[in-house]
Amino acid sequence: MRPMWSRVLQITTLLAVPASLYMVFVVAPIEEKMGVIQKIFYFHVPSAFMAFLGVGLCAVMSVLYLVTRQRRWDLVAHAAAELGVVFCTIVLITGPIWARPVWGVWWTGEVRLTSTLVLWLIYVGYLLLRQNAENREQAARWAAITGIVGALDMPIIYKSVEWWRGLHPVVLKMSGGGGLDPVMGRAFAACVVTFTLLFLCLLVERVRLGRLEDEVESLEQQAARRPLTAATDAGGGSSR
């Protein structure tokens, strides 16, 4: 029962994944200084973009939800926050794997690392808060507040962590810059496109799943009401 455009999106993603893998591992040359470990950057940086996309989308949808009180905005906000956490987790795992051979340490207090970790913590809190709400409406309302506060906080967190460290440890210019080989640039662009497609695919499916969950819940409520009326007709008690 999926709409046509969602099918098209899925098939495009399915084709884009092997295509960009080919670009990354076959077409793009191996980086001179870092060697093969540099390839992780084709997955690490697009994941970071998707994490920010998730968080930003969540904030916009949260505002829309609080203003309109329409369920669908909350479904998108929830899905976007979950995806934000997933991609943020990928960033936090691939980052140290890359940093160990290149910087010589798994973890440093570098500003992007630290603020990504704080971002991850905020949105894990967001998901935990949702779990602890008593009903969907409450979860949506509380989550929207957290989503908005989290997004407002991000630039301040980034700035404060940057000042806290004082001088940066030497950060290699990872993205753009003059040194990036044009073939590498194309492979990177392909990865960004593929990750965006994947993000949209997962988002659409997660929103659909949220709708189905809603439907199941309202069906369960209907089913719960039915024997109650039958029991009262027969003069029974109020418990079901």
Partner: protein, 225 residues
């Protein structure tokens, strides 16, 4: 009743309750003092320079006891469903929020007012030079913490796991405040001129403004039943 009148009324109510019951401030003091004592054992301050660790120790004590104060602030409203009365009262919800922020500020400031001189004694430090700058730093950062904390506490105390959920949401969101507070406090204690840490003071002030404004707009949604 005027808006400011409502704010003062709510803050005054919490203050009066506290003066009559005295259940809150004493436990906050003892808890915060305990943190100082634990750190006093954990780090040997005859070897470690107080200037590098002391401000962090102090703010850990303030922030942890602040979480206790915030949890208490809304738990008392939940008991006997006092919150229902507030929800049906013809007052602006944001005024209720600001009153709660003011009350939390009072409790946290009371703890700070005792703890700072105590730390000076415990760690053999002349903490009271540059008192004006120290007060400004304490005030700005306590306000930021209370502003975000009150918004989150209003939400989390409606769950059964508020003791865990409040710090879980508040600590990451309050990272800028924690960093600014520790950095400015250490600059002030080291007697450095204002220009050195002016950036941080602006950051704290900006944080306060952004989140007070955001919370005034959002608080209504935190309490709807």
């Amino acid at each position: 009743m005027s808006y400011l009148g409502t704010v003062l009324l709510v803050a005054g109510k919490d203050l009066r309750t506290e003066i009559r019951s005295r259940e809150q401030v004493v436990s906050l003091f003892v808890f915060a003092l305990l943190i100082l004592v634990v750190f006093n054992f954990a780090f040997d301050f005859t070897i470690v320079d107080f200037g590098s660790l002391g401000p962090g120790v102090l703010w850990v004590a303030f922030i942890f006891s602040g979480v206790l104060a915030l949890n208490h602030s809304f738990r008392i409203e939940r008991e006997q469903d006092r919150i229902e009365g507030i929800l049906v009262a013809p007052i602006d919800r944001s005024a209720f929020y600001l009153g709660k922020v003011a009350a939390t500020m009072m409790f946290m400031s009371a703890v700070e007012a005792v703890l700072v001189p105590l730390a000076a004694i415990l760690f053999n430090q002349p903490l009271t030079t540059r008192l004006g700058a120290l007060l400004l730093v304490l005030l700005l950062n306590t306000l930021g913490f209370a502003a975000v904390g009150t918004l989150f506490a209003a939400v989390t105390t409606q769950t059964r796991r508020s003791e865990v959920l409040l710090p879980l949401l508040l600590f990451p969101a309050a990272v800028p405040i924690a960093l600014a507070a520790v950095r400015t406090t250490s600059h002030v204690l080291a007697g450095r001129p204002f220009q050195v840490y002016a950036n941080w003071v602006w950051l704290s002030g900006g944080y306060d403004l952004v989140f007070l404004a955001a919370a005034v707009l959002l608080f209504d949604f935190a309490l709807q039943e």
